[in-house]
C-alpha cells in the first residue's frame, strides 16, 4: 500500500462528518471484514490492512460524499484500467 493512502482517510472522514463507528458500520455493510479496532488503528497510524479492505473503507467514505452531493472522492488503492 502507498505510504500516504491511509493518511487520507481520517481527514476525509472529518470532511464527510463520518465518525469512525459510522464508517465501520458502512464498511461492514459493503462486505468489509476487519473489526472496529483494526479499522481505527489503520486510520490513526497506518496499521496493516489489505489493499482490498482499505478500498472497501474508501468506498464507504466516497458513498458518504455521494449522499452529501459533494464531488470530493478519496482515491482507491487498487488502480484499475478500463474494463
Amino acid at each position: 500500500m502507498s505510504t500516504s493512502a491511509w493518511q487520507a482517510l481520517a481527514p476525509a472522514c472529518r470532511r464527510a462528518d463520518l465518525s469512525i463507528v459510522a464508517l465501520h458500520l458502512r464498511y461492514v455493510a459493503l462486505g468489509g471484514v476487519a473489526p472496529l479496532s483494526t479499522l481505527t488503528a489503520h486510520l490513526a497510524s497506518g496499521a496493516p490492512l489489505s489493499a482490498m479492505e482499505h478500498d472497501v473503507a474508501v468506498h464507504a467514505i466516497n458513498e458518504r460524499f455521494l449522499e452529501l452531493d459533494d464531488g470530493e472522492r478519496v482515491p482507491y488503492e487498487i488502480a484499475r484500467g478500463p474494463r
Partner: protein, 357 residues
C-alpha cells in the same frame, strides 16, 4: 448543618425540619446514584444481548452456507446448537436480573417521593409532591413510551407538584447544542429560546446535576443582558436544573414561577427531586431509542452485506473470477453510475447482470 450531628431533641422545630431535610436529601442523592448505576448496567446488558443476537444470525448464515457446501457434519451442528441454547439461557437470566433491578428502582422512587411529601410544610400539603405522581414517571420508563410523551409527562408532573409553578420547559442537547424541546406554555419556550440565544440566564447556565435560581429573570445582576427582554412574561422567577449523567448534559428543565413572584426556598428540594426523576426517566428513554436506532442500522448493514455477497457470487460464476475481482466490478459500476454499491448489487441479484450506464 450535617445530618446526624445533633440530637434531634435539642433542636428547635425549624432546625429539626432542616436536619431531617438534609438526611432526606442525602438519601435522595444516594438513590439517584443507584439509579444511574442501574442505567449503566441495563445499557451494558442490552449491548451484550444485541451482540449475541448478531452472533446467532452469523452462525445460522455460516451454517446454511456450510450445509450448502456439504462442509458441516452432525457434530458441528450439535455444538453450534448447544452454544446457541446456552446464549439464550444467559439472555433469559439477564432479563430476570433487569426486571429485579427495575422493581427495586420503583420501590426507591416511591420511598423518595414519600420523604419529599413528609418534608413539605403543612400549609403546602395540598400542593406537596405525592408519591403517585412521581411513580408515574418511573412507570412511564418501564413501558417504553415515545420520547415526546416522556417529556410531556415530566413537565406535567412539575407544574402539578411544585408550589407556585406557572409553567415548565425542557431543552435538550443535540449535536453539542441546547435546543428548546417542549414547554407547558408558549411563553416558557420563548423565554428558554431567548436565554439560549443570548447565552445567559438560568436555562443557559445550569450544569449537569446543578440548579440555578433567580427571583426575577430581568432584574438579576448576574445577567444584565436579560434586562433587555421586552416580553411581558419575563418578569418572574425561575429555577433551572441540569439533567445529565456524569459530566454530560442531556438537557435542562426550567420551572417558571407566577408573574411578578419567585419560588420560595422550600420548593427547591421538590424541584431537585423532580429533576433527578426526570434525569433517570429521560436517560432510560434516550438510551433505549439510541439502542433501537443502532440495532436497526446493524440490521440494514447485514442485509446490504448479504446482497453484495450474492451479487459477488453471481459475477464470480459468470466471469469465472475471484471474489475480490467481483467486488471491484461492483465498485467501479457504482462509481461510474454514481449510485450506491448496494443498489448495483441488488440489480445484479434481480437481473443477473450489471445495470446499464
Amino acid at each position: 448543618m450535617e445530618a446526624g450531628s445533633f440530637d434531634d431533641e435539642q433542636l428547635s422545630p425549624g432546625h429539626r425540619r432542616d436536619h431531617n431535610g438534609a438526611r432526606a436529601a442525602d438519601a435522595d442523592r444516594r438513590e439517584a446514584e443507584a439509579d444511574l448505576r442501574e442505567i449503566a448496567a441495563d445499557a451494558r446488558e442490552r449491548h451484550i444481548d444485541a451482540r449475541e443476537r448478531m452472533l446467532d444470525r452469523w452462525e445460522r448464515t455460516i451454517a446454511a452456507r456450510a450445509a450448502d457446501l456439504y462442509a458441516l457434519d452432525d457434530v458441528d451442528e450439535e455444538d453450534r446448537e448447544q452454544a446457541r441454547l446456552q446464549r439464550e439461557r444467559d439472555r433469559e437470566r439477564r432479563r430476570d436480573d433487569a426486571d429485579a433491578r427495575r422493581e427495586a428502582a420503583i420501590e426507591r422512587e416511591v420511598k423518595r417521593a414519600e420523604r419529599a411529601a413528609r418534608a413539605t410544610r403543612p400549609a403546602d400539603t395540598a400542593a406537596a409532591a405525592e408519591p403517585a405522581r412521581f411513580a408515574r414517571l418511573v412507570a412511564a420508563a418501564q413501558t417504553d413510551p415515545p420520547l415526546e410523551d416522556v417529556i410531556d409527562l415530566v413537565l406535567e408532573v412539575a407544574v402539578d407538584t411544585v408550589p407556585g409553578c406557572a409553567a415548565a420547559s425542557i431543552t435538550l442537547e443535540a449535536n453539542g447544542r441546547m435546543h428548546p424541546a417542549a414547554a407547558t406554555a408558549p411563553w416558557a419556550a420563548d423565554l428558554d429560546a431567548a436565554q439560549l440565544e443570548v447565552g445567559c440566564g438560568p436555562t443557559a447556565a445550569a450544569a449537569p446535576g446543578g440548579i440555578v435560581v433567580t427571583d426575577n429573570l430581568v432584574a438579576d445582576e448576574r445577567w444584565p443582558r436579560l434586562a433587555e427582554l421586552s416580553s411581558p412574561d419575563a418578569a418572574r422567577g425561575a429555577m433551572s436544573f441540569g439533567l445529565g449523567v456524569g459530566e454530560t448534559t442531556a438537557g435542562v428543565m426550567t420551572l417558571y414561577s407566577n408573574l411578578g413572584s419567585s419560588f420560595p426556598d422550600h420548593t427547591f428540594p421538590i424541584g431537585d427531586m423532580l429533576a433527578a426523576h426526570a434525569t433517570v426517566t429521560l436517560a432510560r428513554t434516550i438510551e433505549r431509542l439510541t439502542f433501537e436506532a443502532q440495532a436497526e442500522a446493524w440490521q440494514r448493514a447485514l442485509a446490504s452485506r448479504d446482497a453484495i455477497g450474492q451479487a459477488k457470487g453471481i459475477l464470480m460464476q459468470q466471469r469465472a473470477t475471484t471474489a475480490d475481482e467481483a467486488f471491484h466490478v461492483l465498485r467501479e459500476t457504482s462509481q461510474l453510475l454514481n449510485i450506491k454499491l448496494r443498489k448495483v448489487a441488488e440489480h445484479v441479484v434481480s437481473e443477473r447482470r450489471l445495470p446499464d450506464a
